[in-house]
């Protein structure tokens, strides 16, 4: 529990023991099933096929790279390792550039565009965002997995993540049921803030890239200074 590195070594050891049984036939069967499902849902609705393919690739990527958002925020605190946080900052740098190009084109083709129509994810920001993030942060460290990590580990065969999933669904329902309380208290006064509306699209891009690079540098420095598990990467 003390570090993901130890967990990883334990997992590798376990896997070496269980290697005897050949799983490739199941892999081939599942690959064929994935292709058949693709054909069926594409016929049902073309966009479903796109979501299916990208989802499969996301699952493979998270599993293969052992990507874990929990470890990215927990490990700097617990063991001083920031290799996952740095990977996420790198992902932010790349997706910031990609999203910028997509938004730039959308705005250029329709200068009167409303925030809600700009491609991306916009939600009201305020104290509720902070409360939600704190609750989420406590929960994901306690459960040992965030939501995407839970889905991935479900696929890997961890029974415990079914419990996390059930808990998550219960929590979502409770949150939705109590929503009127939070909305009247905090959310209805809050608005979604699209930073380029205040600073302009280009300055926001430059500022955000600069901030991400500075954070990357700090994370790199912090790892060198305080990582108790040297050379985790």
């Amino acid at each position: 529990m003390a570090s993901s590195r130890i967990e990883e070594l334990k997992r590798q050891k376990k896997m070496e023991v269980s290697k005897k049984r050949n799983q490739i036939p199941y892999a081939i069967l599942l690959t064929i099933a994935v292709l058949i499902i693709y054909l069926i849902i594409t016929k049902y609705q073309i966009t479903f096929g796109n979501y299916w393919v990208i989802g499969i690739l996301l699952g493979i990527t998270i599993q293969r790279s052992r990507f874990c958002f929990v470890a990215s925020v927990r490990d700097p605190i617990m063991v001083g390792s920031t290799s996952l946080l740095k990977a996420i900052l790198l992902a932010f740098i790349i997706s910031t550039i990609g999203f910028f190009i997509i938004q730039y084109n959308a705005i250029a083709s329709n200068p009167d565009i409303r925030i809600q129509e700009i491609p991306g994810q916009f939600s009201p920001v305020g104290i509720h965002t902070a409360i939600g993030a704190v609750l989420f942060g406590i929960g994901m460290v306690m459960a040992g997995g965030c939501v995407s990590g839970t889905l991935t580990r479900l696929g890997e065969g961890y029974a415990i993540n079914l419990v996390v999933l059930v808990g998550f669904i219960i929590g979502s329902i409770l949150g939705t049921k109590h929503f009127s309380f939070w909305d009247k208290l905090l959310i209805s006064n809050a608005e979604a803030i699209y930073i380029p509306e205040y600073l302009g699209l280009f300055p926001t891009l430059i500022l955000q890239l600069a901030l991400l690079c500075v954070l990357y540098y700090i994370a790199h420095w912090y790892d060198k200074k305080s990582n108790i598990m040297a050379s985790t990467m």
Binding site: L30, I62, A91, G98, I102, G120, S123, S148, I173, T176
Partner: protein, 172 residues
């Protein structure tokens, strides 16, 4: 054998994962017009379950104010969010099977169940307040230049710090 071993058997470095996740999120926005999010799909599954049990969530305040707005042909089970979530589970299974590393791992004890359930509930409840999880309100929100992504990113560290205190106290 060398390349097969590197891609299928050996874990990829974190930075490769980061680059690929970023490119996949960009592709998703480019192709479908929506970004990667996880929580909405799971909320719909929950709504499906309680609707089957006789509740009527459609009348709840939440859906009058922040209507999810189903377009033609979508249901609580058959919708893009569901497809994406199920595909992530299947994708991970596919990856472990090709690597010959699938193994069913049993639940260890009641303590583990308690922490999993409590953690799950806190995440679910929190994600309703922040309009998404570490994917929708963080991984997809920051590159969208939406301020809520940065707020979420700062306070998830506060939550993780409290969470590690709880872990130290009760588990380790």
């Amino acid at each position: 054998m060398g390349l097969y071993y590197k891609i299928v058997k050996k874990p990829w470095p974190y930075w490769v994962g980061g680059i690929l996740l970023a490119l996949l999120n960009i592709s998703l926005l480019l192709i479908t017009g929506s970004v990667w999010g996880v929580t909405t799909g799971l909320l719909y599954w929950g709504l499906f379950i309680i609707e089957s049990l006789g509740a009527n969530p459609a009348s709840w305040y939440y859906f009058n104010v922040y209507s999810p707005g189903f377009r033609g042909g979508y249901t609580l089970i058959l919708n893009p969010h569901s497809v994406l979530n199920i595909a992530i589970i299947i994708g991970a299974l596919l990856a472990v099977l090709w690597a010959n590393q699938y193994k069913f791992k049993k639940i260890k004890n009641m303590k583990q169940i308690f922490f999993a359930l409590a953690g799950g509930i806190l995440m679910g409840y929190g994600s309703r307040l922040s309009f998404g999880c570490n994917i929708g309100a963080y991984f997809s929100a920051i590159p969208s230049f939406s301020l809520h992504g940065w707020v979420f990113g700062v306070f998830i560290f506060v939550g993780a710090y409290i969470g590690t205190r709880i872990l130290y106290k009760y588990i380790i």
